[in-house]
Symmetry: C2
Subunit: 299 residues, 2 copies
């Protein structure tokens, strides 16, 4: 069995019935699993997490995008989070027995279909990007829905699929393949925020750390401690265990203990197997040695 995850973002975070109708489009597929969905009132945005086999997943995402284009009108939309489409962004993430290349291919199939059938211009981003300046989603989204009516006329911003004309109510949508993102936090036994900040700087890419790590030092006031909060944007290349070991060593430097850590949300099996294999010095251990994986592969 092949598994791909998607975490589409929709520009509706206040009318629950609308979000439910969109989520229902995925739930009607028996072989798609909706792992989670949540709404944010201030952002006026919702995020759905679904996993499934490639073909039904693409169909479900198309149906959700269609439903969102029917129920959301961006002319009436306001919220704190920048947005450019009723369906703002659709990432495709390889989870099990799939490669990034397959997700790139699928993003193009889905993007083309959204453009042709729904008349919504589509931009390919991240690993699917056709130009370097389209890799970063926030680059594409600059100007937002309102600004896109001008931006789309710029020859540099011709959409990858569909007409060079913004959909009047549903805007434009970004579709792209990317790696699984792991949200990983480490709690430190001190209330000195500067220690967490120094450690965050040591591990994050922007200040010289690991290439696929974003990190911040924050206070957990109710607990009287500080935390290094991170996004690992490619756990295969900047793995959890290596980041964790460096954080432990840096904390030692400041005489501060690591209290515990947490992974937020779901994790792919590969990330767990990789962590065990490193700590136990297993040279030859892959996911297919896990009984549950073997069973999944029979479906």
């Amino acid at each position: 069995m092949k598994l791909i995850e998607s975490v589409p973002n929709f520009s509706e975070g206040r009318r629950e019935e609308v979000v439910r109708e969109i989520v229902d489009e995925a739930s009607k597929y028996s072989n798609i699993k909706v792992l989670d969905w949540s709404m944010d009132y201030d952002h006026n945005r919702s995020v759905v997490t679904l996993v499934g086999e490639p073909e039904p997943l693409i169909n479900a995402l198309f149906d959700m995008t269609k439903k969102a284009s029917e129920l959301i009108d961006l002319r009436d939309h306001n919220g704190e989070h920048p947005r450019m489409g009723a369906t703002d962004v659709i990432p495709l993430i390889p989870v099990m027995n799939t490669k990034m290349d397959e997700c790139v291919e699928l993003s193009k199939i889905l993007g083309k279909r959204i453009a042709e059938e729904l008349k919504i211009p589509v931009y390919l981003y991240e690993k699917s990007a056709t130009k370097p300046e389209r890799e970063n989603l926030s680059n594409i989204r600059k100007g937002q829905f309102e600004g896109f009516f001008e931006k789309i006329k710029n020859p540099d911003w011709v959409p990858d699929f569909g007409p060079a004309e913004v959909h009047p109510t549903a805007g434009v949508t970004a579709v792209g393949a990317r790696e699984y993102l792991i949200a990983f936090n480490v709690n430190l036994g001190t209330d000195r925020l500067e220690v967490a900040e120094k450690i965050a700087r040591a591990v994050r890419h922007i200040s010289g750390g690991f290439r696929y790590v974003k990190a911040l030092g924050i206070e957990l006031k109710d607990k009287g401690i500080v935390q290094v909060t991170m996004n690992l944007t490619n756990y295969k290349k900047s793995p959890i265990f290596r980041v964790f070991e460096v954080i432990k060593r840096e904390a030692q430097r400041y005489g501060v203990p690591v209290l515990n850590s947490e992974i937020v949300g779901m994790v792919p099996l590969k990330a767990i197997v990789q962590t065990m294999a490193w700590y136990l010095q297993l040279d030859d251990f892959k996911e297919d040695r896990v009984i549950e994986k073997k069973i999944l592969d029979t479906f």
Copy 2:
């Protein structure tokens, strides 16, 4: 989805066509997965590893036992490994979403059916044992097939199910629930066997070590190194990471490095999650946070 593993042992390790016929009894169930099967000529014995949901698994094991009773005649059997039945032993092991108690119940259902329909006396062992002296399989098997015609008349050895009369060709069978067994080896950067032996003594139960660890020090002559080779008979109570950390520390004491380690065969997800959670100091991480497990649970 609930998953149980079984590793039945059959007293045939030379006639491949016979073993294949027995394995085929499991393969005909679409919802049973045969993970592995192997024959040993000297032991004249074969071992099959299968996983599946409780009900079909019990049915498959019954069919295999029936087939073995038709094809194997213990009066003609000789081999190095002690044995008492055509189907010698059937362990039931909780793997996913099942508890030991359920496996104990299932072992009784299966044992009863084997006794009633096939007229083979059945002894419950390990967690299913009805008396302390029946917990250990080798205690039950003492005397082997040939000795059982007398042993079964002893009031202490009345079978748990079936007539107090050995099946003339298929002998007697042991059925029982037990924990998953992990075969775990650690390689040391030295050719001094005594170091591996000392470390094995430090971690194994019999000489004062962890309760659920069996260990030996052996030489790997082709590699010019030594190994601590282990069976962890309850990874929940004597977990891999703790055993590994003690071995590393003991090796340090002798100025010997740990080169690498290996897990032989398959591992349940729980053991991997447990290992990661310990090393990363995750207080709140269970298997249901693994995407693949979540998907399996939808079946």
